[in-house]
Symmetry: C2
């Protein structure tokens, strides 16, 4: 009995019920919300360590002249009550973020990879979170461990890219788990990236919680011991910090957000709304059902531009991020031209 | 800039606040609760596939004569509303379960490893969920991928044990994600394990959700779109199926449960209460702070027996499961003797 072949994953959400349309729209965070949030929630204890790493990374790439993209990836958690063993989570393996990071690296960007701890990572993603476990890639030969020869050639290609990213100091992985860690780290990184102005790109693919439990209410908000033994959890909307990012944290950077829907008929509308609310440069819309085959770029001037894998590309297992990233970079080029024109008006 | 050394994990809970003592005690599930639960919640679509695998595994080990242990490991999730992208989760990496499974295998048991998908696995655990990513274990040499020579010898030892477990068909990994998947799979496996009577051991190390949202309420229980934009989640206690397991699903098997606390003064009391409620054979008590160094065995006759790593063992990084498992097996031996004596009274 070899490990039996397994034809199912237990962790995939159902497309038909994955998005709840009854959720109210959240208010856009204003200056006051930002102050309130960061005043009433403690920074992660390790934040200065992250800031030092990011600072060093950015200084290095000011010298190399590379553009820097911040890729966010994976889902944030919301701890419940004062009980940090139990938390609300968002389903996201981190596939879009980890895959995109690779194509940014291949296209000459330096990448800060702000990811949910233990979610998929660039390059290593090819060998984790699969039905194989780590040791399934290994064999013993002549009293030594070897990579299974069936996959060794392919792994060499991936390893070389990874080694190249490391040796050129072009990939900086930074983890988060909670939404609070995410928000603090995002703000810190943004403020450091200000230094490189329009050479910074934000590619916000993480699944950030909509609701959270304010820390001010943690001490008094314990489980309500009702006679029935029920648990009632009363959550508040997470302020939408994207507007603050655009206005204040990183006003010169190019910012890309994602909109995931299940209903094609409202995708463009939702993407356009997001641009109107947050004033950023690009929304990449996608449907849960087809997100690996097609996405739509929506920009503030009203353009909708679909990007699709051809049938040939699809059948040869091409990744749509190999097309998305060059198209995002084109938008970044345009942004840079526009920004420079605004900064230095022709005289 | 090599991957910067990282001195923190973002995903560990705080010991001081990890367990909420305000949570009410849950009712023990009775026959009716069981009927209600399984009647009102659909079985996972893949359950028959799992049952076929387990059946084949058990039939095989009826021939080899091995005892079989079901090790459960990792946390269960509770999907919220009809929105399966968002769920409540229990923090658990699966360390206790994955490590214990290895020592059961080394002590001659066959292991059904019922685990949270993508949590730690026996043997592969040594190389996953660490600060290293997969490719950090690889190097290129002479145009070939090789295991980093610094760790290759150690990996060979682990790979041999893993290969041995696979080639002797002694390890069957079965995944779950939601608490519903867990409960259905646990029941199915229990009923198949009835065949081997007292040769079955249940080692229940998974962190099972206390609260869930009954599927009967999913359609009508959507997010309440309050003017404030708040989310209210109203959960019910998960029926405690351990009693049903003991009474009805696997009455001849030896059953071990875990009790995790943060307060030493109530650990024994809580363990004793669990034995009284569920009528099983052994509770292994442990404190979050010291769980890798000491545990206590509590049995229905009132015995408390502490198992601790010696200072020498601790400083040489011995794993406490290397002592726990032989001690559990002794209890299993006693159970078998007792069971046989009850079944065949001396005449």
């Amino acid at each position: 009995m070899q490990s039996p072949s397994k034809n199912y994953h237990t962790s995939n959400p159902e497309v038909t019920s994955a998005i709840d349309r009854d959720a109210p729209s959240h208010p856009v965070a204003q200056g006051l919300d930002e102050d309130d949030y960061f005043r009433s929630h403690a920074a992660p204890s390790y934040l200065s360590e992250v800031e030092a790493q990011v600072d060093q990374f950015v200084e290095h790439h000011i010298k190399t002249g590379k553009r820097i993209v911040l890729v966010t990836s994976g889902g944030t958690t919301v701890p419940l009550e004062n009980n940090t063993v139990r938390f609300i989570d968002n389903f996201s393996a981190g596939t879009r973020g980890a895959t995109s990071a690779e194509y940014f690296l291949e296209n000459g960007y330096a990448v800060i990879f702000l990811h949910r701890e233990f979610s998929l990572l660039p390059y290593s993603r090819h060998y984790s979170h699969t039905t194989n476990c780590f040791l399934d890639y290994m064999v013993e030969k002549d009293d030594k461990v070897e990579i299974n020869p069936k996959i060794a050639d392919e792994m060499l290609v991936v390893l070389r890219k990874y080694t190249q990213a490391k040796s050129s100091m072009s990939l900086l992985p930074i983890p988060f788990t909670t939404v609070n860690q995410y928000l603090y780290t995002l703000r810190s990184i943004s403020e450091i990236l200000k230094k490189i102005e329009d050479k910074a790109l934000f590619y916000l693919a993480a699944a950030v919680s909509d609701f959270f439990l304010p820390s001010s209410r943690l001490p008094k908000h314990k489980i309500q011991a009702q006679p029935s033994g029920k648990l009632i959890v009363d959550l508040e909307a997470v302020p939408k910090f994207l507007r603050r990012l655009v206005d204040s944290w990183a006003p010169q950077a190019m910012i890309v957000s994602f909109k995931l829907e299940t209903d094609n008929s409202i995708l463009i509308k939702k993407a356009t709304e997001a641009l109107r609310r947050y004033h950023h440069q690009l929304v990449i819309g996608n449907l849960l059902q087809t997100r690996k085959k097609e996405v739509v770029f929506v920009t503030p001037n009203g353009d909708e531009s679909w990007i699709r894998l051809t049938d040939d590309q699809d059948s040869s297992n091409a990744e749509i991020e190999s097309i998305i990233i060059p198209a995002v970079i084109q938008e970044h080029d345009k942004w840079t031209v526009k920004w420079k024109a605004e900064k230095e008006p022709s005289n």
